[in-house]
Each structure stands twice: as structure tokens, then as C-alpha cells.
């Protein structure tokens, strides 16, 4: 390979943190104008690797070359000057600032605001990503926020664009527009380093893939020649079972929600508007939708964190709306929220204490107002054994567990309480494939045992895999649930409101 053909050459890059080697002698190259996928499970070292390229983290050993010059950025500013731009997984945006101000913050020497606004309008139109520079970012949809990040990068004429899990918050139609933009950029000679674990997308978009496992490069391939299954097995290093579901007859309605409306407590949140659905015993209802369309509010209204008029939520005909979380748990309505640390679990408390926090009512862990610690410990051990939670023991703090293990614990804690109805939000977010499969199986088993299960998630593949019926939350409204079997991505995309406010650009892009 001649140097002129390669944009980025990484050789033997190593970075160790106390107790874990995040990257172990990683080497790969990216050509000019190539869309290069970086694949791997959570914790495989993808994020650390791109942070080193972007100058946020310094490598312990190894070299990087960008466009035939040594690339040793000491801070993001230096990386940006060298032509590296990055779109972050968790948006690096400021909600209370305008689009133009957000863009200015990501540039080295931004022009005056008025010139910048005009440039934003111009560039965003040219790439089919229209944006109003004066709007507050807090008022934008997730897809539009990502456009702000992309436009911020494009204004710097990057040689290398790094995208960290860019499609996790987009509707299928928005993904299509994004891919169109990326292909256009690649055709113009910009290289793109694309991080994802959505294998079908990588097969459609990327020219080459480098696969990381436990911080090491384990394979590289042409994703167009491999099946998604083959790549998944390279990522995990083993084959794993897809969840199996038993077809059973559905029972009587258990959880009924009628005309549920709730004003969001968050100034940038979405209020629920007239949400109605009913879930029968033994049924899984999947609720999809882009993040920030009322998912958190729906969970709060169902779990009892937010009170609503009594009749709007009922369990087996009993009104639940005015009851708090403890009373709802006692009646059999359990919930597991999205945020593991700080919402579903208290980070600095032990697993025993965390088990007792929600299990105390249904598992009878208290006697005469005093906690029965041996029973609580027993309950925690039951969860750890039943859900394969990898931890030295129940006295460990919740914070010490990896995301996947804590998620298994949090879901297991609710499932083992044998609820009549269980609501979960993003049950497998940021969880590795094997743990995700185990969690999905547990939810299916719970439903098979006669519980009503509501799964709120942004992972459409997950929802189609485990749901009996499927509905979409869009701007606080719930679409009419439809049988999940036979739904296509195209139909789901339309249920999700298509490409938010950008139909015109979409038509133009196709």
C-alpha cells in the first residue's frame, strides 16, 4: 500500500486503564473516501479508540498517521485542526443554546454569528439536512439534533469524519437520508469511520469493517460479502441463541390505559396526549419510537412516579392512577426504568439493598417495619443466580457492575416478583448481545407465565422479535397497536412519523 492512498494509518495503538486494557496493539488503515466500519460489542474498545484519534485520550503506545503526517493530538482542538471531526453517540449539544451557537462552539475560529448562520443554512441545504440556525437545540427532535452535529463537522471540511452510533435515535427514513449524505461525502473524498453494532446498516453502507473484541482487532472483512450473522459471531466470538417464544392463547386484559394525558415535568420533555392501550395476560406489547417522544413520561405514568386521574391506568379493572409506586407494586404493577444507575438502582448501595428497595413489598422483606436482611440477601442471591449476574456477591455496590450485568439484575429483580404486569423501558440499551438475548428471553418467559408485558424500546429489531403487538409513540401520542408479525420497516417508519419535518429533503435525496 502506498501512503498516498491511505488517509489514516493506526499501528499498534495501546491504551490501558487500571484493571482493563481498553485497546491492545490495535492496527488498521482507512483509505481516502472509504466508509470504514468499526464493529464490536460494548466494552470492546471502540469508543476508547476513536477518543484517541480525536485527541480526548492519549495512547500509552503505538502510532497514528493522518494524511502522511504523524497524528498525535494532545487535545480535540489539535485533532480538529488536523482534519478530524466527530459526531458523538451521546450528543455533545447544549439544549439552552441556539443551533448557530452550538455550531460555533465546535469550531476553532468561527465567523461572526450572522455569517455563520448563513453558512449553516447553506451547507445544511446542500447536504439535504435543512436546519434553522436560530432555533434552540432543546426544541429539536433527535434527528434534527444529529443534523446539528453533522453540519458542525461539515463546516470544518474534515478529512476524516468519525460517527459513533449515529443511527440509534433515528427513524428508518432518517437513516436513509443520513446514509445518502454520508455516501455523498465519501464520494467527495472524505473518509468516514462508522461505529455501530447494527450489522444490516453496515452491510448497506460500509466498504470495509474492522472488528474489535476485548480491545483487540480480531478480524477485518468486506461487510457486503458477509452475512449479519457471520459478523455478529465474529464480534461475540461465539454463537448464541436467538430468543424462542412459545405461542400461547392470550388471556383477559390485565393492564388498561385509557385517555392517559400527562404534562411533562421537564421543560424539554414531551407531554403525553390521550394514550390508550390494553395488554392481555400472556401478551407482550412493544412500544417503539424515537427517544424523547414521551417514553420517559409514559414509564413515569405507569410506574406511579407521576400521578394521573384514577381511571386512566387500571390493573385487572382496579383503578391505579392515584396510587404511588409502592401501592402499584403491591397490586402487581411493576416497572423498570431506562436509566440503570440512579433511577433503576441506587449506584452506591449494595445489590442486597437494591433488591430490597423494590422487592420489599411483594417479597415480604420487612417484618414489623424492620428489614429482614437475611431474606433480602436471599432475594438478591436468587436474582444473581437466576439471571446469571456476574458479580462476586450481593454485598457489592450496584455501581461496580458492568452495564449488562446491572441491567440483568434490574430486570431480574422485577421479573422474580411475579408481577401481573411489567413495564420496561429500554431493557437492553448498551447491553452486549448475549445479555440482551437473556433479558429478552426472561421477558418472553414472564409473558408465557401469564403476565402482561410492555416493552418500551428504540431498538426496532428487538421489538419485532419479542412483541405480539406493536405501537409507536410519536410526539406524546400512541399509534393504534398492530400485530407485530409481518410489519415491515417501511411501515414502522411511517408509524414513527417518517422523517420528522424533512419530507422534502427526503424526496430530494432519493
Amino acid at each position: 500500500m502506498t501512503g498516498t492512498d491511505m488517509l489514516l494509518e493506526i499501528d499498534g495503538l495501546t491504551k490501558a486503564y487500571p484493571g482493563v486494557v481498553a485497546n491492545d496493539a490495535v492496527s488498521f488503515q482507512v483509505r481516502r473516501g472509504e466508509v470504514h466500519a468499526l464493529l464490536g460489542e460494548n466494552g470492546a474498545g471502540k469508543s476508547t479508540l476513536v477518543k484517541m484519534i480525536y485527541g480526548l485520550v492519549r495512547p500509552d503506545a503505538g502510532t497514528m498517521r493522518l494524511a502522511d503526517a504523524a497524528h498525535e493530538p494532545s487535545e480535540p482542538r489539535a485533532a480538529r485542526a488536523a482534519g478530524v471531526a466527530m459526531v458523538f453517540q451521546h450528543f455533545s449539544l447544549f439544549e439552552a443554546l441556539s443551533v448557530a451557537e452550538n455550531v460555533a462552539l465546535g469550531m476553532e475560529s468561527p465567523p461572526p454569528m450572522r455569517t455563520l448562520s448563513a453558512r449553516i443554512a447553506e451547507v445544511s441545504e446542500a447536504y439535504g439536512l435543512p436546519l434553522d440556525p436560530d432555533r434552540l437545540v432543546g426544541d429539536l427532535s433527535a434527528g434534527e439534533r444529529q443534523r446539528v452535529e453533522i453540519v458542525r463537522c461539515l463546516l470544518q471540511d474534515p478529512k476524516l469524519l468519525i460517527m459513533d452510533e449515529p443511527t440509534s435515535v433515528l427513524t428508518p427514513q432518517e437513516v436513509e437520508i443520513l446514509f445518502h449524505t454520508l455516501r455523498k461525502l465519501a464520494a467527495e473524498g472524505t473518509s468516514i469511520l462508522y461505529i455501530s453494532h447494527k450489522l444490516e446498516e453496515i452491510r448497506v453502507l460500509c466498504d470495509k469493517a474492522t472488528i474489535l473484541r476485548h480491545g483487540k482487532v480480531v478480524a477485518s472483512c468486506d461487510p457486503r460479502e458477509k452475512s449479519a450473522r457471520q459478523m455478529a459471531e465474529m464480534m461475540v466470538g461465539a454463537s448464541f441463541l436467538a430468543p424462542a417464544r412459545a405461542k400461547g392463547a392470550k388471556g383477559a386484559p390485565v393492564l388498561e390505559v385509557a385517555g392517559l394525558s400527562l404534562t411533562s415535568a421537564n421543560p424539554f420533555g414531551t407531554s403525553l396526549k390521550e394514550v390508550s392501550f390494553s395488554v392481555a395476560a400472556g401478551e407482550v406489547l412493544g412500544i417503539g419510537g424515537v427517544a424523547g417522544n414521551g417514553q420517559d413520561e409514559l414509564l413515569a405514568a405507569l410506574s406511579g412516579e407521576a400521578l394521573v386521574p384514577a381511571g386512566q391506568v387500571s390493573l385487572k379493572g382496579q383503578a391505579m392512577g392515584r396510587l404511588g409506586p409502592v401501592a402499584r407494586r403491591r397490586a402487581g404493577l411493576c416497572a423498570a426504568p431506562e436509566e440503570r444507575l440512579g433511577h433503576a438502582a441506587a449506584p452506591d448501595m449494595s445489590l442486597t439493598e437494591n433488591a430490597a428497595l423494590t422487592g420489599i413489598t411483594r417479597q415480604r422483606l420487612a417484618r414489623n417495619g424492620f428489614i429482614d436482611w437475611s431474606r433480602a440477601r436471599g432475594f438478591a442471591e436468587q436474582i444473581i443466580a437466576g439471571f446469571d449476574v456476574r458479580t462476586p456477591g450481593p454485598e457489592n455496590a450496584a455501581r461496580a457492575l458492568s452495564g449488562g450485568n446491572l441491567q440483568k439484575f434490574v430486570i431480574g429483580r422485577e421479573v422474580l416478583q411475579k408481577p401481573a404486569a411489567l413495564i420496561v423501558n429500554q431493557p437492553t440499551w448498551g447491553v452486549d448481545a448475549a445479555a440482551a438475548a437473556a433479558i429478552r428471553q426472561a421477558l418472553l418467559d414472564l409473558a408465557a407465565g401469564g403476565a402482561a408485558v410492555v416493552v418500551i424500546s428504540q431498538d426496532l429489531d428487538e421489538l419485532l422479535e419479542i412483541s405480539d403487538r406493536f405501537a409507536v409513540l410519536n410526539e406524546g401520542r400512541l399509534s393504534a397497536p398492530r400485530p407485530a408479525e409481518g410489519l415491515t420497516m417501511e411501515e414502522i417508519g411511517l408509524m414513527m412519523g417518517g422523517a420528522h419535518g424533512m419530507h422534502e429533503a427526503h424526496m430530494h435525496a432519493v
Partner: protein, 310 residues
């Protein structure tokens, strides 16, 4: 009762003098909070500035040197808070409260030999021409230089926060320190600079009390001005012009109620004494009653500990 004894021109002129210490402390705290830091030690930094300014002013007989020393002293004391909260990641509320107690105690110790001494006189600076305007002249343009400086600081803070890149970065750090860090901004350094600015302003405000307003040293002489400054920042929705309004409102009512007391108005003294606090907060609460809009202006990362995760 003798209301005729109250001279409206003198009243308005002394209103500005009464409001200046709070104005200085509040505008400094506004910058600190906009950077996402809650420093409850304003009272401590003010009283420390008051004694530092007084000591240097008396010893050198140059009040301006006293003010410079007060600003420096406030900034130095604020760095104690800055290092504890930003570098050693201590809790901001607890550290701020401790700073107030520390400042009160330290200033009482340093001020032992200075009780009962009179401060050197700070010469008024009459703005040429403008000072001769009838009515407006004596109210607005016949004051000491620090009072003009305080208004200048408000204008500068407003303009910098609104129009400059430094201001944008400061607001960004206060809005989301994680995002700012991801973009490569030095969150801790920016916050330390904001804290030092806040400390210097609070120190100046304190010295204004001991060198101009009273002008002598007594223990605990700031008498809660730092707390009122903190309240004004919040109820002014972090807007510099509203801080100016809040401070002048407080100063105005404080002066007016003293005049009313002197005039022998038949209202219990206790009610008159509490009136500046009540009315200032009431007015600003009503102005910021639209919760959604007020929340939009509040720095979202206010009081949260920042720790770079990589």
C-alpha cells in the same frame, strides 16, 4: 411624623450607594453560576474583602489601594473554594457555607485592632458637565468611582455573555460540562476563572461597605448582604439587567425605610426593617413567575460536580 424631611434627590442618590455592594456581589455570583458553579460563600468573601480593603485603605491612606486589595483578597479566598470544589470535587453547597463561616471568623480576627477607626475618604468623581444637570446631576453623576465601576461591570457582563465567544463558552460550560469537555474546552480552568471573578466582585462589594457606605469597620458588618445577592441572582433569572434592578430595588427600599423610621412613621420598626428583603424578592418572583422561561435561562449544570471520565 415628618415626611417633608425626606429629600427625594438625596434619597435617590443614597439609594445607589446603598445598592452598590449587593450589585457587585450579585453580578460576580451571576458569572459564577452561569459557569455552572454554586458558590454560597458570597457573604464570607464580602466580609473578607471588607476587612482587607479597610486595613489596606487605613494603613496606606489610599482608598483605591484598599479596593484593589479587597478584590484580590476576595479572589484569593474564592480560590480556596475553587480548589476544593473543582479540583478536589467537594460538595459545592457545603464548601460554600464553610467559606462564609470561615470568612466571617477570619475577618473578625483580622479586624481586632481596627474597630472604631475612621476610613480614609474616597473622593467623589463628578462627571464633567453631566454633574451640573439639575436633579439628575446629584442623583446620577456625583458619586465615587467604584459606583460607576459597578455599573460598568454589569454592562460588560451583559455584553460579554451575550455577544462574545468567551461568554458563549462560559454559558456552554454551565449548560453541560460533559458536552463542553467532549468538545475540548477546559471546564475546570474556565470555572476557576469564573469563581475568581466572582470572588473579586464580592471583595469589592464588601470593601464598598467598609470604606464608603459606613465607613468604618465593625464585626459582621455585611449583615446578610451576600445572601441577598445570592437570592437576587436566582430571582433575576440570571439576567444582568434584572440583577441591577433587583439590587437597586433592595437598596432603594433599604434607604427609604431608614428615612421612614427617622421620620417616625407609625409602622412597627420590625416590619420596616424586613421590607427591603420582602419586596425585592416578591417583585423578582413575580417577574420570574413563568417557570418554563426561567428554567430555560438557568444554567443546567448548576451545582453539579464535574469529573472528566477519561
Amino acid at each position: 411624623m415628618n415626611l417633608a424631611g425626606i429629600d427625594p434627590i438625596l434619597l435617590l442618590a443614597s439609594l445607589m450607594v446603598a445598592a452598590t455592594p449587593i450589585l457587585l456581589a450579585a453580578i460576580g455570583e451571576l458569572v459564577v453560576e452561569k459557569a455552572g458553579v454554586l458558590n454560597l460563600g458570597v457573604e464570607g468573601m464580602m466580609i473578607f474583602g471588607a476587612i482587607a480593603g479597610f486595613v489596606v485603605g487605613v494603613e496606606t491612606e489610599a482608598p483605591m489601594l484598599g479596593f484593589a486589595a479587597a478584590a484580590l483578597a476576595g479572589a484569593v479566598l474564592s480560590m480556596l473554594f475553587g480548589i476544593l470544589t473543582q479540583v478536589l470535587l467537594s460538595n459545592q453547597v457545603a464548601t460554600g457555607l464553610a467559606l462564609t463561616l470561615f470568612g466571617l471568623g477570619l475577618s473578625a480576627l483580622l479586624g481586632q485592632g481596627y474597630v472604631g477607626i475612621k476610613a480614609p475618604v474616597t473622593a467623589d468623581f463628578d462627571v464633567p458637565l453631566l454633574a451640573d444637570i439639575p436633579v439628575l446631576g446629584p442623583i446620577l453623576f456625583q458619586h465615587d468611582p467604584i459606583l460607576y465601576l459597578s455599573i460598568g461591570v454589569v454592562v460588560a457582563t451583559w455584553a460579554v455573555l451575550r455577544y462574545s465567544r468567551i461568554g458563549l463558552i462560559l454559558r456552554a460550560v454551565g449548560e453541560s460540562h460533559d458536552a463542553a469537555h467532549a468538545l475540548g474546552y477546559k471546564v475546570v480552568r474556565i470555572r476557576l476563572a469564573a469563581i475568581a471573578f466572582g470572588g473579586a466582585c464580592a471583595g469589592l462589594g464588601g470593601a464598598y461597605i467598609s470604606l464608603i457606605r459606613v465607613p468604618q469597620w465593625t464585626e459582621g458588618m455585611t449583615a446578610g448582604a451576600g445572601w441577598i445577592a445570592l437570592a437576587i441572582v436566582v430571582f433575576a433569572s440570571w439576567k444582568p439587567w434584572r440583577v441591577l434592578l433587583g439590587a437597586y430595588l433592595f437598596g432603594g427600599i433599604a434607604v427609604l425605610q431608614l428615612n421612614l423610621q427617622a421620620a417616625g412613621v407609625k409602622v412597627p420598626v420590625e416590619i420596616l426593617s424586613m421590607s427591603p428583603y420582602l419586596i425585592t424578592i416578591l417583585v423578582l418572583v413575580i417577574m420570574s413567575s413563568d417557570r418554563a422561561r426561567a428554567a430555560l435561562n438557568a444554567p443546567a449544570a448548576l451545582g453539579r460536580v464535574f469529573h472528566a471520565s477519561n
